[in-house]
Assembly symmetry: C2
């Protein structure tokens, strides 16, 4: 054990959550673009504004099933004054009527079909009857009635979606409609997960003796996918300095997330290694749980050091990796949790200067603290409906206070 | 054109949205289970309750870095009354200390390591110093302090997750920790998408002449993925009765979604085909847009007939396919949109007996109707921040009313 490092001596000072967030905003910028097929672009972030090269539709079209005709010829038509037209053809979507219609003529037309030349309106089928090539109209229509103009959806040169847009399902439809089959989006951050701990078995192994199963890797992989990232590599590593050093140097991807060995114990190699191999910018956060969280750069890439305790790992991910990852992905920073307000059944104790992350159980309109609140009790985050955050400037919340609960679902 | 069917004659009656929903609840039940690796189970729905075969952890463990010792020997220790212990070893996570400690002894211990026999508490490193094998304690600890008991996270026989749970990231961690490497979840509904329309080009093609690009397939595929489904097959079909009939009969998967040809025009084959090949349960809904929506069964499988107009298609998906698909997937029925309340800038006109789906633009704390509100204007759903639903029992909303807006993002 060295006396020169922090191990076994506790953190000399803890950075505030707000200061940590500001470090992350400085150090995590959106990744470059790549081109993907439209079918794979849902939720991806548009790299540049999408501008339409065409009018959509490119032609005037019918908005109803009925008859295209010259509207002025219907004036005066009604149930007691039916007017008749010669039906000279039919036009369906994708087809065109070959000539201009002349007075007295109507063309049967379907929704979405191009308006025949000479026609200026569509009379709905409901107000007509047809027999032996003669259509009888019992309603008048005004000019342009039930006609969608060329470019009514999108005009040539129009910006249809701004840069930075997280693509909605309907945005993909809009891009398809202007002729795009692929789209330039920001690259998804690729994450190397380094799970450290001699005591850890891999997911799928049976817990035995003094060993426990790593639960963080499966949880983190799902959280990373939620925030727009991918897992480039996953390694389970023993608490050996040289092994962890090598893994940090050789990790593929855009950022590294480690779990375990982030505190001040003799086996806590990660912080000193990041300091040696690059720059350790944060170590120790004024937060409960997750105080032993760190952040730095190795080879210019962000490295997040998360506690091995699974609740701390979850909270540290949601506070810090979520922010860094979503910035790399070009996504908005907000938690993807839904906030609701609930009355607290019991008080939550905190301290000025510290942020608390508190799992709560939801019971009707109330929220209650979970009895088992230790940072090692992962099952508490499955039992909990969500969590309450006590901000830095608060000493806690009283029973009966109304608090914002962030729903896990 | 037959006079016996509804085509070109309008809908004789329209089913209410509530009645349609009730038909869907009757006809769409959860699919059978399948087993998937834990790493692929995020968001999947648990087929049966998960019960732990083990205690987690299987041993008493330290919750801190420090020294394991007999707590009664620390009583009275303080900054002005330091007490000393012989350090007889070290125990790290995954290892065990080989013998019971005796009075006067302490064992250096790391967070997560098993407590040595004989020890009953852990003194935090912060309250100690160590030199030449002697640890000096300046704080007392009570029995069981900083000790996590065997089973403190999960007890053998405990139900850790209920059947029907949509698995959260941390739930995957819980399942890993009890030794599960795979999990039995409900099968994801596989959807055949049949996109009909002579006028349609495929996504990726350039719009030309009287033809437009199909935008519904890419939008629907993303919506289906959002609601837990997969696309089993995607076909673009001409408006030919025999072709559509064959596609309906031969479609793979658990349900079929068609777009286009659902109304009462001469080219609207889908409703009559479903009636002939199976059972047409719904055709025509008291809703705007999306009135020409249908639902039935072919070969026992649900078939949704969605309008081809993209806004109608989106609304009909979100009202009806969403419900049916999420029921097949065993997921909760709720819209995955976040509701917010906003004051309306302008009035929304509806009718008693009809549900209206109205896209709105968000401006600060207010919501305003979009000027371009036609059902064919897909770009309006990209411009809109969300939508307001005017319920069946309402004639509309007045300017200044506070309405619930469902956010598209």
């Amino acid at each position: 054990m060295h006396n020169a490092d922090v191990r076994m001596r506790g953190f000399s000072e803890r950075i505030s959550v707000a200061r940590f967030e500001s470090v992350l905003r400085d150090r995590c910028a959106p990744l470059p673009a790549e081109t993907v097929p439209l079918a794979q672009a849902a939720g991806r972030v548009l790299a540049a504004a999408a501008v339409s090269p065409v009018d959509v539709p490119a032609f005037d079209r019918s908005a109803m099933d009925g008859y295209a005709l010259r509207s002025e010829e219907t004036f005066g038509a009604g149930p007691y004054n039916p007017l008749t037209f010669r039906v000279v053809g039919e036009v369906t979507p994708g087809r065109t009527f070959e000539r201009a219609i002349v007075p007295g003529e109507a063309v049967r037309i379907m929704t979405g079909a191009p308006l025949p030349p000479g026609a200026d309106a569509v009379l709905m089928a409901e107000y007509t009857s047809e027999q032996n090539g003669i259509m009888t109209a019992t309603e008048a229509v005004s000019p342009r009635k039930h006609v969608g103009r060329a470019g009514e959806d999108i005009r040539r040169g129009q910006e249809v979606l701004p840069a930075g847009r997280a693509l909605r399902p309907q945005d993909l439809g809009v891009l398809a409609s202007i002729g795009q089959g692929q789209v330039s989006v920001l690259r998804r951050p690729a994450v190397t997960l380094l799970i450290t701990g001699d005591e850890l078995l891999k997911p799928g192994e049976q817990p035995v003796g003094a060993r426990i199963v790593d639960s963080n890797s499966v949880m983190l992989a799902a959280l990373i996918a939620r925030d727009g990232g991918t897992v480039a590599a996953l390694q389970h590593l023993p608490d050996r300095r040289e092994t962890i050093a090598q893994a940090l140097r050789e990790a593929p991807g855009d950022l590294i997330v480690t779990t375990g060995g982030t505190s001040v114990g003799v086996e806590d190699h990660a912080p000193t290694l990041v300091a040696e191999l690059g720059e350790l910018l944060v170590h120790g956060v004024a937060m409960r749980p997750s105080a032993p969280t760190g952040f730095g750069l190795v080879g210019g890439r962000p490295v997040f050091l998360l506690p091995g305790n699974p609740v701390s790992c979850l909270a540290a991910y949601d506070f810090f990796v979520r922010l860094g990852l979503r910035r790399l992905a070009g996504r908005d920073e907000a938690w993807p949790y839904r906030p609701v307000t609930r009355r607290l059944r019991s008080r939550i104790v905190s301290q000025i200067g510290r942020v608390d992350y508190v799992r709560v159980r939801l019971e009707g309109e109330e929220a209650d603290l979970l009895a088992t609140s230790g940072a090692s009790i992962l099952s508490s985050t499955s039992l909990a409906g969500g969590f309450v955050v006590v901000p830095e400037g608060s000493e806690g919340l009283a029973a009966g206070d109304v608090a914002t609960v962030w729903l896990y679902d």
